[in-house]
Amino acid sequence: MGLSRDQMAIRVARELQDGYYVNLGIGIPTLVANHVPEGMEVMLQSENGLLGMGPFPTEDAVDADLINAGKQTVTTATGASIFSSAESFAMIRGGHVDLTVLGAFEVDAQGNIASWMIPGKLIKGMGGAMDLVAGADNIIVTMTHADKYGNSKLLPECSLPLTGAGCIKQVLTDLAYLEIRDGKFHLVERAPGISVEEIVEKTAGELVVPDNVPEMQF
């Protein structure tokens, strides 16, 4: 058994730093907000035009004019600011966001990411994902290491249409924490109880395994 969704969020949250502006994608990335370390201040950016997203509102505070990028009703945190979509993507594209966390279908050893369309299925669109991966220097991709049939999602080359080219340097899967550089995946940490052999077997792209691969602690 690899990491649970919550454990993945906890592991990503360890990469947060005090004073970080962070954009969290839908799914596991959203859970990272629940694990911000005590005493640390982090501001969440929502690409529809909100910096400083607070928790969901109580029933009596629901406001149709205040939503996040997932179209959910939210609140503002203390010190929040609200702005236009152009301003929001100026922050994103301009590299002002300190950390971006998003999901993916596939990542490859060149740092390419495919996360927005599967040919043959209905295409809904990329939303802000292409801007996010193009603009951020510090991106963590969260996804399962393999699909439900056991096929690796860490590939020599993405098979699905790309969201961005050469922009991913860090991947957290349910099995491992990896870095991408020099056209290779580098194994950094493994999930508790997961062997290096299993990670090697489930990584289709070239994988560099150091002598010592520490186990994540929870």
Binding site: G49, K71, S84, S88, M126, P161, G164
Partner: protein, 233 residues
Amino acid sequence: MAGFDKVVNTYEEAMAGLEDGMTVIAGGFGICGIPENLITQMKKMGTKDLTIVSNNCGIDGFGLGILLEDRQIKKMISSYVGENKLFEEQLLAGELEVELTPQGTLAEKMRAAGAGIPAFYTATGYGTDVAEGKDVREFDGRKYILEESIQGDFAIVKAWKADRYGNAIYRHTAQNFNPMAATAGKITVMEVEEIVEPGELDPTQIHTPGIYVDRLIQGTFEKRIEIRTVREG
């Protein structure tokens, strides 16, 4: 109507001149901050073959989704669509064309049009299908693609309050694409919850200066919520 007074009294007047085949830029994100009544007026008018530029296409029975009911939309330029069954049906039947555009690029296309900039380079989409057929240039070792701005024959926007001159303020995240949309229409029509007299709004707090607004109308809004998420009190 005289001088800088942009107020019109009916939705017929607000959308007068909209014709078949025109391009309409619409503010809003999902169904937040959408010009509900201007869209309803477009449905009433039955204008066809429209190209709509908007981040999304509403939902079934609300927002831009209602323009699908009588097949008024020929083409959507959006970053994310398909929150409605009718949209999916018309897309799969080949009755509707979609040009998917990254959200930040879409916002910038509107902003650029309003600012007199015909095209701009962005790293967004480089190396993806979005870059197909577009000029690529390298600046400082990084590759960028050329994206053209989009002007609308009409722009329809929703603000919270405006004075009669069209100086407007948006409320919370209902701002979204509205300020850029407002600048990008040959004719910009704005609807608001409240019209006040010039001088009543603090000039330092204005989001959209009245120079961008051609017609202004006060309406009442349903403000439907797409995804209601709450926590325990």
